[in-house]
């Protein structure tokens, strides 16, 4: 087994998951619709006042992003667990963390990336100042991969359970708090015309940490769930 076969397997997994996701488009679309609906609920529930919405916008958009990611997380491993392909991956000669990373990347491409495209639109709906738009995009670009990576650990732990959905949110949401804090604060700071370098560095550091450690933990958790 050479390195090239590992990279082939890695790319094959990403391609496979993307194809599967594109074949069932509703699975991609539903979390996004959910994202838009949650955000549009806030003006209805709180008040349509532009000033109030402007201050709430960063938090609302990020909480909605968190929740819609939660909704799509289950699809990372669920169907593969049910049809047994996850076991085949564990049996394959390639290191499991790399294969898991491939699946997480595919998940992010399907669920995280579209959020980045949708978010500016929602920012406009919530009267977010235009100066804060780059910050919104930057925090989403750095933050949503962390959500997918950390969430994968939770899915791997609960995939063997019949009703893992609620449990998953209980396990994963507390771990999302740092991302939420730094990201929404960065947007609010940018809206006040101040430098957001510090927040972005923190988000980048969390991304690096999650990228290196989360696949290992996810692979270990999968081994336990599949025993």
């Amino acid at each position: 087994m050479t390195n090239s076969s590992l990279s082939k397997a890695f790319i094959a997994i990403i391609k496979r998951d993307l194809t599967l996701a594109l074949r069932t488009r509703s699975e991609i679309a539903n979390p996004l619709i959910f994202f838009v609906i949650i955000v549009s609920l806030f003006p209805l529930a709180v008040s349509p006042e532009p000033e109030l919405l402007k201050t709430m916008a960063p938090g609302v958009i990020w909480v909605a992003a968190l929740l819609s990611t939660m909704l799509s997380l289950d699809s990372i491993f669920r169907s593969d667990f049910e049809d047994g392909s996850l076991e085949q991956m564990l049996l394959s000669p390639h290191p499991m963390p790399i294969l898991v990373l491939g699946k997480i990347i595919a998940h992010w491409l399907v669920s995280g990336l579209p959020l980045i495209f949708l978010a500016p639109l929602l920012g406009v709906l919530l009267f977010l100042p235009y100066d804060a738009m780059p910050a919104l995009l930057a925090t989403l670009a750095l933050g949503t991969p962390v959500l997918s990576l950390v969430g994968a650990i939770g899915v791997a732990l609960t995939v063997g359970l019949r009703r893992g959905g609620v449990l998953l949110s209980l396990l994963v949401l507390p771990l999302y708090i740092p991302v939420l804090i730094f990201a929404s604060n960065a947007i609010a700071t940018a809206a006040a015309d101040m430098s957001i370098k510090g927040q972005l560095y923190f988000l980048a550091a969390m991304f690096a940490l999650a990228l290196t450690l989360a696949p290992l933990a996810t692979a270990a958790a999968l081994r336990i769930s599949l025993r």
Binding site: V150, I153, L157, T158, G160, L161, R163, G164, L167, L170, L171, L173, P174, L175, I177, P178, I181, F182, N185, F202, M206, L209, L213, A217, A220, A221, I224, S225, R227
Partner: protein
């Protein structure tokens, strides 16, 4: 020395050891609690700023310390169980979780009781209160995962991974909450610096801390004993021992 620890890894020896040591631990817990409560309520001087209400720290601060300490114990035991497949480590980790959650709840409740006269509200989004609340969520997640998985060994291993992930996250959560807090409202809360505390107030606090530790040790052993009884009910040594004690 080492053989003592090695033998503790077997549930049977642990069970017998727990049986022997629980009365000692229990009585010393009671005695230190009585001494600590007496010192805290009657001997320690009244605070010149906060009056009598500061005395709740003799419950609050040890409970808050314990809530962190128990999570560390849980994660370390979980890691040991994961690496060396030791049954006793799994048992310790799973017995510690509800205790840690209880300490966290106690710290939160006493904190808000203290907050009412000090800050005028039951709850304040103070950094330490908030991270304590998140710690409670982590405990609840751990307990929920444990009760959701039926097979004990799988449950223990899955929980161990969750605890280890939590341990990596706790400092991040703690500092991000602290940072968030200073940005949002500034340092509003007067805090007890450790060195700024008078010795006459510190000694009762340390006594109470010791009492909490002993209490944790006692209840942990008791819970572990129950867990061993449940898990090992089909083994011969357990049957023999129970039959023997019936005679």
């Amino acid at each position: 020395m080492w053989s003592f620890f090695h033998r503790l890894a077997s549930p049977k020896h642990f069970y017998l050891f727990a049986n022997r040591i629980i009365p000692w631990l229990g009585w010393s817990t009671l005695i230190t609690f009585i001494i600590g409560t007496y010192l805290g309520l009657f001997v320690a001087p009244t605070d010149y700023q906060q009056g009598e209400s500061y005395r709740i720290i003799y419950i609050h601060v040890p409970a808050a310390w314990m809530s962190m300490f128990v999570y560390m114990i849980m994660a370390i035991a979980g890691g040991i169980g994961l690496i060396w497949k030791m049954k006793m480590a799994d048992i310790i980790a799973s017995s510690a979780a509800p205790l840690g959650a209880a300490f966290t709840i106690l710290a939160l409740i006493t904190g808000s009781l203290w907050g009412k006269p000090m800050w005028g509200t039951w709850w304040i989004w103070d950094a330490r209160l908030t991270s304590e609340l998140i710690l409670l969520f982590l405990y609840l997640g751990f307990i929920a995962l444990q009760s959701a998985i039926e097979d004990r060994r799988t449950a223990a291993n899955a929980c161990a991974i969750l605890a280890l992930v939590g341990v990596v996250n706790i400092p991040i959560i703690h500092y991000s909450v602290e940072w968030w807090n200073t940005l949002h409202q500034g340092p509003t809360v007067t805090r007890f610096g450790k060195s700024a505390m008078a010795t006459s107030m510190l000694i009762p606090l340390l006594t109470m801390f010791l009492a909490f530790k002993l209490y944790f040790g006692t209840t942990l052993l008791m819970r572990a004993r129950v867990e061993i009884l449940e898990r090992e009910r089909d083994t011969t040594w357990m049957k023999k021992m129970i039959m023997g004690s019936d005679k």
